[in-house]
Every structure is written in structure tokens, then in C-alpha cells.
């Protein structure tokens, strides 16, 4: 009897789950009302979240940092709709025909360039603004809008912004080259509507352009810190942003819609070969990846070498026992241990070197050298303190000075004990460099993001980047092992080399 009841319950339960799942999948969204309890994908840094809460107060929101991730979530059913503006979605819908609009306009949005608030009465801001107004009156703006907002990504710029003459100086522009059609990478070069419009303006005003690509969330900081003059890449004008930055006149007006998957059955199977073709071969994107690998390696290897040397030197000075230096050192370490690496990097980039024109790679090398020196310093400190005091005393009583004892007796015993931790730190160093996209470096991770922003492919770029990181880490460890085996101070019977032991 009991068994029967249980069985029935189980069947009912299974059916309910199955029904819940299938109904979830088959639900069709034809109007905004259907989305009342849906999960909506929002891009971070936009004001679409407030807009969603206003229209659909009961809907859940999930945040994404880029379109590729957002689309994967939509396709896998993690979210049911995306709220976004049509100029960008136009391109995405081309790549993915199953995506469609819910034909109710949710709102409009104006795009502009961004200046720091302090530029309000600055002639640069005024002349740029006047230029935009002029273009909007003489039809230039409309011509450019028609050129770029058509869903085709393969385009050429009218003006080569890299060779503009610096008659009146250079304007430093920062962008996030992952936003078609405003700023994106095509044929390994940053192009887009924003870029072309700025090229026109700068050419007219007699400025050269220094353009840097960075993470979208770092753009505002980049101009408020004074390191850059103008930020671009699809900046929408919102009341909130107006409080902290200065917008130019609008350069484009976009319409906002909800986007959903319409016809699930017609989704064609994912073709991994196409995916890899798009990721690496198309537009010679492998060149981008090579550049990314190069940048990642340069930063990692240089900070590895410099960090090891500085860390070691810091330890030697610390070992001398100057109270002032050691206290400063302790405080620095205390802070460093509590500081997320990305924050350290931003501090170095925007505050320490805020006004200087040192490039992102150098900044990253400086930042990671600091980071790695501290690690090496701490490794040395724990390594040496793990050696029994008796070893020092024995050396001193034999007539060794403190330095000589350290180098000849202690360190040869310390290195083997810290070696495995050191290797782990190298692996963690190369992984940590993935954040340098925030300071305008196009490293491996950033390249992965750039490519994804063009192809909207998630799996091939992510997997490739993962594998490349693993391979790079292994190669580094391999090299370190070779170097270490040459200087291996443990039990090498070095003192006996060249000694005639047969008498």
C-alpha cells in the first residue's frame, strides 16, 4: 500500500519536473507582458537595469560584462531576454538569426563622447562640441551614421587616425574596442563610428590621436584621473552619469528593445570548426592572439625576473635590520596583502603615473614587479626563518660575517625549501596578468574578449585562451626548472668538484 503511494508520488513528481522544464523551454515571448517573471540579461555599466526595474518590476536581472557571455546565457536558457539598444543588436542578430525583437519600443537612448567634469569651460571641450553640432547641421553626422549603423562590420575608416598631424597637440582617447559599431577591432585594427567621428573632429581641429583600448568599466576612471582627455565607445547619456562626467552633444540616437529567442527549433547545431575558423583564421585573428601571448609573456617574464631580483634585494636590506626601513616594509606588506591586485594596478596607472604618458605594458610590468617582489620577499623571509638558528651560530663561530653566512651557508639551504612555492607563485603570476586589460594592455585575456565581441562565439576563444595559459605556465615552469637545475645548491657536492679524493 505504502509502496504504491510512494510510487504514485514519484511519478507525479517526475512529471511535474519534466513539465516545468519543458514549459520553461517552450514559452514564447510575444510582448513585454510575457516577460513579467522572466530573467533579463543586462550589460554592466548601462542604465538598462533601472529601465528594466521600471518596466518589469518582478523580473530578475542578471549582469554580464560582454555580449558574448550574455548571448551564451540566452542560448542556454539561463536568461530569457536581453534588454539592449538596436544599433549593436543589429550585428548580433546577423550572426544569430534565431534572435528577435519584441516589437514594442522600450525607450530611446542618446550616445555621446565623455569628458571629465573639470573640462566644462575648457576650449578643447567646446571646440569638440561645436564640431559635433556643425557636423549634425551639415549632414556629415548623418552620413557617418548611415555608414556605420547598417549591421555590416567589414568597413574601412575614411581617415587614418594614427597619422594625423599634431598641429595643436595630441588628444588622448580611451575606448573599449569590444562594442560594435562604436569601437571594435577589424583586421587587427580599432575602427568604428566613434573612432571615425573623432578622427574627423581631430583632423579638423589639428590634433593627433593617441588611442588606447581598455576595459569598459575603467573608462570613466581613465578620464576623471586626467590620464585621458576623451572616452568613447557607445557611451549613453544618463542622468546618473551626468553627475560625474561631462557629455558632448549627442552623436547618435538609438532605440531600446527586448530581445528573445523566437524559434528554438530552427537553431542550427553549433559548428565547432566554424567557431575556430571565426576565432583564429577570419581577419587573421591569430595575429591578435600572437600579440596577446607576446604581451602576456613580456609582462610575466619581466616582472618575474625584476620581481625576483627586487624581492631578494629587499630581503637583504631587511636582513640588515634598519628599524625604519623594516617598519616601512612591514606596513607595505600589510597593505599589499590586503589589496586586490587589480586595485594596485589601477593605483599605479591612474594615481602614481596619472599624468605621465607611460604605456600600459610598462605600468603593468611595474605593478606586477611590485607584486612579485613582495611575494619573493615573503618567501625569502619564511624560508630563512625556517632555518634553525644553530646554523647561523655555527657559521658565525667559524668566522663568517653575517652576509657571508647568509650566502654560503643559509641560502643554499633556503632555496630548495621555497622552490615549490616559488613555482606556484609563477603560475599564479601569469594567471594574475589577465587583469591588465584594465590598463590598456591587449594581453591574452583581453584579446579573447575582443575576438568574442566580434564573433559572439564563447567556447572557442575561452577554451583556446585557457589552453594557451596552461601551456605558457608549463613552459615557464620548464624554463625555471632548467635554470634551477644548473644552480641547484642542494647536495651537489660542489666543494668536492675538482678535488682529488683518491690518495
Amino acid at each position: 500500500m505504502l509502496r504504491k503511494v510512494l510510487k504514485t508520488c514519484l511519478v507525479v513528481l517526475t512529471c511535474t519536473i519534466a513539465f516545468a522544464c519543458s514549459s520553461n523551454n517552450k514559452k514564447d515571448f510575444n510582448s513585454i507582458k510575457d516577460l513579467e517573471h522572466a530573467t533579463i540579461g543586462i550589460l554592466t555599466g548601462t542604465y538598462f537595469d533601472t529601465l528594466t526595474s521600471k518596466i518589469l518590476p518582478n523580473a530578475k536581472q542578471l549582469y554580464f560584462t560582454n555580449y558574448a557571455d550574455e548571448l551564451s546565457a540566452l542560448n542556454s536558457g539561463k536568461i530569457e531576454a536581453i534588454l539592449d539598444e538596436d544599433s549593436i543588436m543589429m550585428y548580433i542578430m546577423k550572426e544569430q538569426p534565431t534572435l528577435s525583437t519584441i516589437d514594442e519600443k522600450v525607450g530611446g537612448i542618446d550616445y555621446a563622447f565623455v569628458f571629465d567634469k573639470s573640462m566644462q569651460n575648457n576650449p578643447l571641450y567646446e571646440s569638440v562640441n561645436n564640431c559635433i553640432i556643425k557636423y549634425s547641421n551639415d549632414g556629415t553626422l548623418e552620413r557617418l551614421q548611415n555608414k556605420w549603423f547598417d549591421g555590416v562590420s567589414e568597413k574601412e575608416l575614411d581617415i587614418d587616425y594614427t597619422t594625423l598631424p599634431a598641429t595643436n597637440g595630441t588628444i588622448r582617447i580611451c575606448c573599449n574596442a569590444e562594442l560594435m559599431p562604436f569601437a571594435y577591432v577589424y583586421n587587427n585594427k580599432i575602427i568604428g563610428f566613434d573612432i571615425e567621428l573623432l578622427s574627423y573632429i581631430c583632423k579638423e581641429l589639428g590634433y593627433a590621436i593617441a588611442l588606447d583600448d581598455m576595459q569598459f568599466d575603467a573608462l570613466i576612471l581613465a578620464i576623471t584621473s586626467g590620464k585621458y582627455d576623451i572616452a568613447c565607445s557607445g557611451f549613453s547619456i544618463t542622468e546618473e552619469r551626468k553627475k560625474s562626467v561631462l557629455f558632448t552633444s549627442p552623436i547618435y540616437h538609438g532605440n531600446i528593445f527586448f530581445y528573445v529567442i523566437k524559434d528554438k527549433s530552427s537553431t542550427k547545431g553549433y559548428n565547432i570548426v566554424d567557431g575556430f575558423y571565426n576565432t583564429f583564421i577570419k581577419e587573421d585573428r591569430y595575429l591578435l592572439f600572437l600579440k596577446g601571448i607576446f604581451n602576456t609573456l613580456v609582462i610575466t617574464i619581466l616582472s618575474l625576473i625584476l620581481g625576483s631580483i627586487f624581492g631578494f634585494l629587499l630581503y637583504l636590506i631587511y636582513n640588515k635590520g634598519n628599524i625604519v626601513f623594516n617598519n616601512i616594509m612591514n606596513i607595505v606588506i600589510w597593505i599589499m596583502n590586503r589589496l586586490p591586485l587589480i586595485v594596485l594596478l589601477m593605483i599605479v596607472f591612474y594615481i602614481v603615473f596619472g599624468k605621465s604618458i607611460i604605456d600600459g605594458i610598462t605600468i603593468s610590468i611595474i605593478g606586477f614587479t611590485i607584486y612579485f617582489s613582495i611575494i619573493v620577499f615573503q618567501l625569502m623571509k619564511t624560508g630563512v626563518s625556517s632555518i634553525q638558528n644553530g646554523q647561523f651560530e655555527a657559521a658565525y663561530t667559524l668566522g663568517y660575517s653575517e652576509n657571508k653566512a647568509l650566502f654560503r651557508i643559509i641560502l643554499p639551504q633556503v632555496f630548495p625549501t621555497i622552490m615549490s612555492d616559488y613555482k606556484n607563485e609563477i603560475i599564479s603570476l601569469i594567471k594574475s596578468t589577465a587583469i591588465v586589460g584594465y590598463v590598456t594592455v591587449q594581453d591574452l585575456t583581453k584579446i579573447g574578449d575582443i575576438v568574442r565581441s566580434r564573433t559572439f562565439e564563447s567556447i572557442p576563444p575561452i577554451l583556446s585562451v585557457a589552453i594557451i595559459y596552461i601551456v605558457l605556465a608549463e613552459i615557464l615552469i620548464f624554463i625555471v626548472n632548467i635554470v634551477y637545475s644548473h644552480i641547484n645548491p642542494t647536495r651537489n657536492k660542489k666543494l668536492l668538484k675538482g678535488v682529488n679524493t683518491h690518495d
Binding site: G390, Q391, T397, Y400, K404, K497
Partner: protein
């Protein structure tokens, strides 16, 4: 010559050395004795400045080692030190341990250093272990290797810091005989030790240090046979006493037997003597007293009379006057009397204890 002038060492809560004035002549072989924790090692470690004195000056020949501007490594070269825990360099073979300072400090060639190391290893009897690593050696072998390492730089002065305290009984002799063989080299030697027999046989001079003060300074005969100070008398005669309380029948005899062995080792008594004492103790307490006393409360004090080479045990217990001789367990009493050289029973009148029995054993090697 080593000279200490008004040397004092003070920590926040303890003062291991109060005010030491001392002159040590070249060639002196000095044993420093005294109760544990009275600053013997501190005194030794101050001579080569492993410990900095709080006050006072220390001169090695004409150099003041306490002068902050002195060439410390240079002065330390004149002195070698052998540590309680050996402190061999673990990453080097034994022969390399002996070579390294010759190469680094005396700038000898590797070959020269190697040849000299072989000689030294021969001296301490470790020629066959030259390519072993320290971890593969026994404690005694490590200590002999450490002595060889110290000799490698030809120091005028050698400081020995409790070098047999961390060793097993069986290894003490091999190390002590190596040190004895060094006395002929004319080096100044300072030896902190708990082995009174060893101290007596090896030294030309003995320092008695207690409570941070040198109370005795003289030849071994003066210190051991005719001590003037009451403390020294007490220390020398009862080098050490060992007291144990038994309050119920669950007493751990096995662990006490180890304690007795350690005690004998410390006082240079033979293992045989220790075993006889333990046998006597076991027969008396476990076989006789535990049988007779329903709630035994027993106190035993072990002491060594060095002058007469006698081991004594004083056992006191409760119960209304009971002489073990009257025990029903005749066999055990027989064993007891045969194990000791003298047995003495008397009634006493203390709060807890009403009986006292004294066992005396002559030390037999």
C-alpha cells in the same frame, strides 16, 4: 687570554649573569659546572658574542669583542664552538662541512682543505663517513664531526656547550674521549658540562657558577674535594637529588626505571648500579610495601655522594611502624638485601611518614 670585566646579562624577567670578572689564561682547560639554568651557557656564548652582554667588557687577547666597531668575524676566527645540538650544515657532506670554512674563511684551496679535513676526520675516528650527510650519522658521530669542523680553522680557543647532553648514554664516552685527546694540543678550552667525573678528569681549572655568580674558581681538587663555599659542598656532594612520591598502587614503575637510568647517566654511575637500585626499589615498594599497606603514601629520595661514590635511596612511608624485615614475603626481602650494600630501617615521627628505610649502593663499574 680571555678577560671578562664586570659582565652582566639581564633579560626582562631573569638575570642569568650578575657580575662576572674572570681572566682565562692561554692553555687553560676549564670546566664550568653548576646547577641547571644558572647562566653557564650564557657565559660561554658571551665570550664569542653569540649573546651580547648587557653591561661590561670582554677581551680576547688585545681585542675587545664587546666593542661595536670591532672586527667581529675576525676575532671569532680565534675561537671555535661545539654546540649541544651539533649544528652541522645539513646540505653538505661531513667532509664538506669541515672544508667549507677553510675555503671561505682561510682561503685555502679545495684540495688543501680536503687533505686537512681527512686528517681531522681520522683524529675523531670518522674517516669512513666522510661522504655521508649529517642526517645519516648517529648523535655521537655528529658531535665528533662538529668537533672536527671546529678544529678545521685552527682556533686558539674552543668552547664546548653541553656537548653530551643531547646524546644517548652509549655515545657519551666516544665524544668525551675525543675531547680528552684534544687537551694535549695546548688550546684554551672552556667546557660547560654536567658530567662531574669528566669535568674532574679533564680540566686544569673548574668554575662553579650558581645564580649568575661565580662562587668557585680553582683546581678540580679544590672544587671537588675541599669546596669552601657551602653551595659548592652541597652541589658536589649531592650533585643531584631525585625525589618521587607514590600515592596509590598505580605507580608507573617502567617510567621510573628510565628515570633512574637517566639519573645514573647524568652522574656517571654505571648502568649496573642503576639496575641494582631499581631491583631493590621494585622489591621493596611493589612486593613488600604494596602488599602490606592498604593505602600507601611513599616518598623516595635518590641522591649520589660523589666523594664516596655511593648511591643512596631514602624511602619514607606511612602505616604504623612496619619494618620490611618482618614481611611475610621473605623471598623479596632476600632479593632486596642482596641488591643493596647496606639497608637501614628506623621509625620516624613525621606527619605522614612513620617509617624510613635507607638503601645504600656502592657504584660498581
Amino acid at each position: 687570554m680571555i678577560k671578562l670585566v664586570n659582565v652582566k646579562k639581564e633579560y626582562k624577567y631573569v638575570t642569568p649573569l650578575k657580575n662576572v670578572n674572570l681572566t682565562i689564561n692561554d692553555g687553560d682547560v676549564i670546566s664550568i659546572i653548576g646547577p641547571s639554568g644558572t647562566g653557564k651557557s650564557t657565559l660561554l656564548r658571551m665570550i664569542n658574542l653569540l649573546e651580547k652582554p648587557t653591561n661590561g667588557q670582554i677581551f680576547i687577547d688585545d681585542d675587545e669583542i664587546t666593542d661595536p666597531n670591532c672586527n667581529l668575524p675576525k676575532i671569532r676566527q680565534k675561537m671555535g664552538m661545539v654546540f649541544q645540538f651539533f649544528n652541522l650544515f645539513d646540505h653538505l657532506t661531513i667532509v664538506e662541512n669541515i672544508m667549507i670554512a677553510q675555503i671561505d674563511i682561510l682561503n685555502k684551496s679545495k684540495q688543501e682543505a680536503y687533505e686537512k679535513s681527512l686528517e681531522l676526520l681520522k683524529l675523531v675516528g670518522l674517516s669512513d663517513r666522510k661522504f655521508s650527510y649529517p642526517e645519516d650519522l648517529s648523535g655521537g658521530q655528529k658531535q665528533r664531526a662538529a668537533i672536527a669542523r671546529t678544529l678545521a680553522t685552527d682556533p686558539k680557543i674552543i668552547l664546548f656547550d653541553e656537548l653530551t647532553s643531547a646524546l644517548d648514554l652509549t655515545m657519551v664516552d666516544e665524544v668525551q674521549s675525543v675531547i680528552s685527546s684534544l687537551t694535549g694540543l695546548g688550546k684554551t678550552m672552556l667546557i660547560v658540562t654536567h658530567e662531574m667525573k669528566f669535568a674532574r678528569s679533564i680540566s686544569t681549572r673548574v668554575l662553579y657558577l650558581d645564580d649568575g655568580i661565580i662562587y668557585g674558581d680553582g683546581t678540580p681538587e679544590e672544587i671537588f674535594d675541599n669546596p669552601k663555599d657551602a653551595r659548592i659542598q652541597l652541589f658536589v656532594h649531592n650533585t643531584n637529588t631525585l625525589s618521587v612520591d607514590i600515592v596509590n598502587k598505580n605507580f608507573d614503575f617502567l617510567s621510573f626505571s628510565t628515570t633512574i637510568k637517566k639519573y645514573c647517566n647524568k652522574n656517571n654511575l654505571s648502568i649496573k648500579t642503576g639496575n641494582r637500585l631499581y631491583l631493590a626499589f621494585e622489591e621493596l615498594v611493589q612486593q613488600i610495601l604494596f602488599n602490606e599497606l592498604s593505602n600507601p603514601i611513599i616518598n623516595a629520595i635518590l641522591s649520589y655522594d660523589e666523594k664516596n661514590d655511593l648511591l643512596e635511596m631514602n624511602v619514607k612511608y606511612n602505616y604504623d611502624y612496619f619494618n620490611p624485615q618482618e614481611s611475610n614475603n621473605e623471598l623479596s626481602y632476600k632479593v632486596l638485601t642482596s641488591a643493596v650494600d647496606e639497608i637501614n630501617y628506623q621509625k620516624i615521627d613525621e606527619n605522614t611518614y612513620k617509617n624510613q628505610i635507607k638503601l645504600v649502593l656502592k657504584n660498581v663499574n
